[in-house]
């Protein structure tokens, strides 16, 4: 500990010299990997978003820290037309952009910056579209291209989005990382200087932290943006110290080399909780791990068979054995942290007797043989799919159902299961925008059967029409009612066995104050402070 104190003293001296302020506080975050880059439009990894959109940029609307609630960001207010097709945003006045060695902004945020940020992704003819490759995966993945008809500049501080069809989750999409707002003036200046690649390498945003320097696989360094529109961050410096191994991150946290670490090994959590210097925060993640029945194949066309197999699975045992307790049993297709979660639905109990009876009623008194696909990789919603499959296999054997476990390499697994080659498949989902639509429509809607993401290939009109109605209205109460009803149908028809929502653990040192777990799995340091 003495070493730590002297190191801190040295750091403070350095801070004094560099910043000339009384006490410079540096928060060190032991991040899990290098970002792919610093323009969140181009990438999809959470690691990249932590290092870019969560620090350097803002969006028109934001998710309130620690929740999935949408709050004003760069747009102070907005109006949505009656028909749900026109969204008009009124921007905050006087929002300053960052500056760096080669760029000093001459103006504050305007509608032009907003239009630039979206047109670059939307329009292949846009001069900036091809600067760093031309793939805008998240923008495309959320179908923004076909959703946005056009964007209009109303005046300096007003911008209007016109949609091709009403889509209530649009507002939530605008709070996502790819919708970060960048400086058009910076893009123009870099192009004029003949260094267009600088646009994405040396990003200029309006966010709470300014990127100071980056060493691949080693460190990212930020400074608090003193002119941040919402007031400067409580810490002066933010360092991402890249530490890919979870055991090493833990060792560094213990040694005081970092203040916050993500993704601990579940096995280390009890020891962390016992450490007097460490506080372990926890929250259910915005995810669901599930088993999908291929409802286009016999015998899974019969809901009774699906329910029988559901009743035979011992979820509690799975959560103990596979998640080591770090998960809650899933009942609905959406996690409880999302609005409209239906708390009235009770899970089917683990009841092999009832399962056998139901199976007999459906015409399979002696069971049948089937296959059970298990992913080859660890995912947040399923840390050990193969072992999970073995438990389910044993559970089903009890009721006479013989399942052969099948696995493929990850890319192959995704492609084949999207084609519906499986009988039953283990998979899961992590939410993008906190909207129930992002789980239910994407994973269980009729359109998603052809798209491949509906692994149960379950297209059920009464369910689907509720989801479609919920897309058309922007009234939150009405949407909540529709989704609650949809969950009842889902429960009755059981196209899936929802298995678990994994719990996210976030060990932080005690001096870290006001850290909140982001339900989207991001890591946000604006609003966090360090005790003396």
């Amino acid at each position: 500990m003495a070493r730590m104190t002297s190191a801190l003293a040295l750091g403070a001296t350095l801070g004094l010299l560099l910043a000339g302020t009384a006490q410079a506080t540096t928060l060190v975050y032991c991040s899990e990997g290098s970002p792919e880059g610093f323009n969140p439009q181009l990438y999809t990894a959470g690691t990249t978003f932590d290092a870019s959109s969560k620090t350097i940029f803002n969006r028109l609307v934001e998710f309130e820290r620690g929740t999935t609630t949408i709050i004003p960001g760069l747009a102070e207010t907005w109006d949505i037309s009656e028909d749900g097709l026109t969204y008009t945003f009124h921007l905050r006045a006087g929002v300053p952009f960052h500056s760096h060695d080669n760029f000093t902004p001459t103006r504050t945020l305007t509608a032009d910056d907003v239009i630039y940020s979206f047109e670059r992704q939307l329009d292949p003819e846009n001069p900036y579209h091809n600067i760093t490759g031309d793939t805008y995966e998240y923008f495309d993945g959320m179908s923004m291209g076909s959703l946005i008809d056009h964007i209009e500049r109303v005046d300096d501080l007003t911008v209007r989005f016109v949609l091709t069809h009403p889509e209530a989750p649009f507002l939530a999409n605008l709070a996502m990382d790819f919708a970060s707002i960048m400086s058009l003036e910076h893009a123009e200046a870099m192009t004029a200087a003949g260094t267009p690649e600088e646009i994405d390498l040396n990003p200029v945003g309006t966010g709470p932290f300014v990127l100071v320097d980056y060493r691949q696989d080693a460190q990212i360094r930020y400074q608090a943006f003193q002119d941040y529109w919402n007031g400067p961050a409580a810490i002066d410096e933010l360092v991402f110290s890249i530490t890919p191994d979870a055991s090493v991150r833990y060792a560094r946290l213990q040694a005081g080399e970092c203040h916050v670490m993500p993704y601990p090994n579940p096995a280390d959590v009890p020891a962390m909780q016992a450490d007097p210097n460490i506080t372990v925060l926890e929250q259910e993640g915005l995810n669901v791990g599930y088993l999908a029945f291929n409802t286009e194949r016999e015998p899974f066309t019969d809901p009774r068979v699906r329910r029988a197999l559901y009743l035979a699975i011992n979820k509690e045992a799975i959560i103990e054995a596979i998640f080591q307790g770090a998960a809650v049993p899933a009942v609905n297709p959406i996690p409880p942290t999302i609005w409209s979660y239906n708390w009235d639905i009770e899970d089917y109990p683990f009841d092999p007797e009832a399962a056998r009876a139901l199976l007999a009623e459906a015409g399979y008194p002696d069971g049948f043989t089937t296959n059970l696909w298990a992913m080859p990789v660890q995912r947040p919603y399923n840390p050990a799919a193969r072992r999970m499959a073995e438990i389910i296999q044993a559970n089903w054997a009890e009721i006479g159902v013989e399942a052969e476990i099948v696995t493929y390499e990850w890319g192959e697994y995704l492609a084949r299961s999207a084609e519906g080659e499986h009988d039953t498949v283990l998979l899961g989902w992590t939410g993008d925008n906190g909207d129930p639509d992002n789980f239910m429509y994407v994973l269980l809607g009729c359109d998603a059967v052809a798209g491949g993401s509906n692994r149960s290939r379950w297209c059920y009109e009464p369910f689907d029409s509720l989801l479609r109605d919920a897309k058309l209205t922007t009234d939150l109460d009405e949407r909540t009612r529709l989704y609650e009803e949809a969950q009842v149908i889902f429960h009755e028809e059981t196209p899936w066995v929802p298995i678990a929502h994994s719990v996210v653990y976030m060990p932080v040192r005690n001096e870290v104050q006001d850290y909140l777990i982001d339900p989207f799995g991001g890591h946000i340091f604006y609003g966090v402070s360090l005790a003396e």
Binding site: M1, R3, M4, A7, L10, G11, L14, T26, V28, G33, S34, E36, G37, L42, T44, T132, G133, D134, T135, E137, D140, G141, D213, R215, Q216, D217, A218, Q219, R221, V239, S241, I242, T243, P244, D245, S247, V248, A251, R252, Q254, A255, E257, C258, R379, Y408, E409, W410, G411, E412, L414, A415, A418, L427, G428, W429, G451, G452, S453
Partner: protein
Amino acid sequence: MLRFILTRVTLVIPTFIGITLLAFALIRLVPGDPIEIRAGERGIDPVRHAQMMQEYGLDRPLLEQYADYIWDVLNGDFGASITTHQPVLREFFALFPATLELSICAMIFALAIGLPAGVLAATRRGTAVDYGVMGVSLTGYSMPIFWWGILLILLFSVHLGLTPVSQRISDLYWVDPVTGFMLIDTLLGDQEGAFLSALHHLVLPSIVLGTIPLAVIARMTRSSMLEVMGEDYIRTARAKGLGPGRTIWLHALRNALIPVITVVGLQVGVLLTGAILTETIFSWPGVGKWLVDAIGRRDYPRLQGGIMLIATAVILVNLTVDILYGIINPRIRHAR
């Protein structure tokens, strides 16, 4: 002599072609392409998928891709990483000094301990010292790097607080890369304590990475020494009345070193592969970790470029060693 060097150099060409072919083919044998992997469970529209494969030039026949790739490489263009969109060559040379610095320190550590230990074991053959050295080196040789690294971190960094857990330098310092070698860059900069911090951070990873070469060097030195010690000229030296110190360290060791040099040369390859694990454990920002990431992402340009560049480094070292002892030992030169 020139002819000897020419033969050696010519032999490098087929090796190099073999490596490029392997690097190219092996990655593509792994199922899943970079586009699919990146999309994950979100999935990607098949039309868009095909379009992106075309953009990356991955839809063309393999032979055509290979020929183009080799042509580009010969022109010094290793392509851009699919992950970061940055040129592979630039990324490689930004990270390689870190790997090299670590490897050099590990080798210094291995030699500094391995050589004397081997000599000691040879001169005290059959004693407790000999068995001790051989036992420890066998253990060292069989040590899984990953486990050994974590073990040392837990003991020295977490429990005793003597060494830092990971990274190249404390997060308090920010050193501008001039040469990329932290020890040199910290000396060039003027931040007080930075050099010591960098040195401090090198201790554990060098030990972990140097353990296997150390074991190999110790064993090799011992057996080579034993052989030399039985030679006539050693007996003559002794008969002349030369002291044991001079006999061993000057006459015997010098001649025993030739096979040891070979082993050291071969260990460079071992070091670079070992660096992949060591770098992951110690969050060392070198090419090892960079390559491992590329496998998971099927980042073909980064992976094949990285393999090729590292292989080139190993080939060059081995070539140098070959030529070196062609020079040192004329018998080798004439035997071919």
